[in-house]
């Protein structure tokens, strides 16, 4: 109401619309110009000069000194960027391809062979064997119910096998002895005497 009283012909409103549209057009023109400039060869050369020149080093040193990198890394970790990246890598097929390529590469083969031949492995094994923790773990595993049950089962299985074999042999000996006795006595074979046997 007050504007209508002050500006009965709408000159102020018209002026405002003109200013807004002019500003919008100027913004579009500026963005277009900036885009054109960034795509230009001049911008590429400028960036190259910036990165390769002393200014890039100065900027990098300043970033390190000021803790900018740590802050950025912290922000990224807090935002869960690392988890997202890890999920993406683990779920994607790139990791499989990469692992396959690494495993099938001859360089990996050579590397593994070098590691196996090196003194590093021997030393590592010696250290592991000398460590008390290893024997604690071994002791713990050896005392576990699953392992003791497996060992006793195997022992029982072996004993059963031996008993079974001895039983078979003694029964063959029974049959052989009876056949020999019947031959001596000129008697017919007993039905209790199996046909098999030595």
């Amino acid at each position: 109401m007050r504007i209508q009283l002050l500006d009965p012909f709408g000159v102020v409103r018209l002026g405002g619309r003109v200013v807004r549209s002019t500003a919008s057009a100027a913004e579009d023109a500026a963005i277009t110009a900036l885009d054109t400039a960034l795509r230009s060869e001049l911008a590429s050369r400028a960036v190259c000069l910036l990165v390769e020149g002393p200014l890039g080093d100065v900027a990098a040193r300043a970033a390190v000194r000021s803790g900018l990198i740590e802050r950025v890394a912290g922000e990224m970790l807090e935002a869960g960027v690392a988890e997202h990246v890890a999920d993406r890598v683990l779920q994607g097929s790139e990791l499989d391809r990469l692992v396959t390529r690494v495993l099938e590469d001859q360089a990996t083969e050579r590397l593994v062979a070098q590691v196996l031949d090196s003194r590093l492995l021997d030393e590592s094994v010696k250290r592991v064997l000398a460590s008390e923790e290893l024997w604690l773990v071994v002791d713990e595993i050896a005392r576990s119910p699953a392992v003791t049950a497996a060992i006793s089962q195997q022992g029982m299985g072996f004993a059963d096998q031996v008993v079974e074999e001895v039983g078979v042999r003694t029964r063959r000996a029974d049959a052989w002895l009876e056949r020999a006795a019947r031959r001596m006595l000129n008697r017919t074979a007993s039905p209790a005497t199996p046909a098999s046997g030595p």
């Binding site: 003694t170 029964r171 029974d174 049959a175 009876e178 007993s190 039905p191 209790a192």
Partner: protein, 174 residues
Amino acid sequence: MSFAAPQPPGLGEAAPAAGTAPVAVVGYVGLVTRTLAFALDAAVINLVAVLTAAVFGLALSVLSLPSDLEKALVVIGGVVYVLWSIGYFVGFWSTTGQTPGARAFRFRVCSTELGPIKPRRALVRFGAMLLAAIPLFAGFLPIVVDERRRGLHDMIARTVVVDAVDVDVSAAAP
């Protein structure tokens, strides 16, 4: 599973008649297996006896006993040894039908009806076993010619020795 009473001439040939329960074939155990099992039992008996005698001997060695008492203890030890031997066989035969030796060789002693034997019959069997051993073990020779592989002691006590896998004494008990 049910077991028919062993039929001497038809042993190993039992076939189920029409409409009857299947009849298990019973395997009788021969002389060699039984001798080895007996040797194992003798080893167990003597090992226990020797260990017991050693413990008592050591305990008594620190005591200065009169020589008469020592003789009496020796006699008592002999009696205990005999009782232990009898109890070993009678106990195992009349309970599980298997001594440890028989268990190792997988056979058991049972009545001719394939049932468990009572302590009295086990005692008779033990006595008959001693009798069979007296004439240079000739009492055991019938095992090699008898249809059911019975020795003199088996005939006297009316027992048979069968493969443990063939018969379950508890199931066949009357």
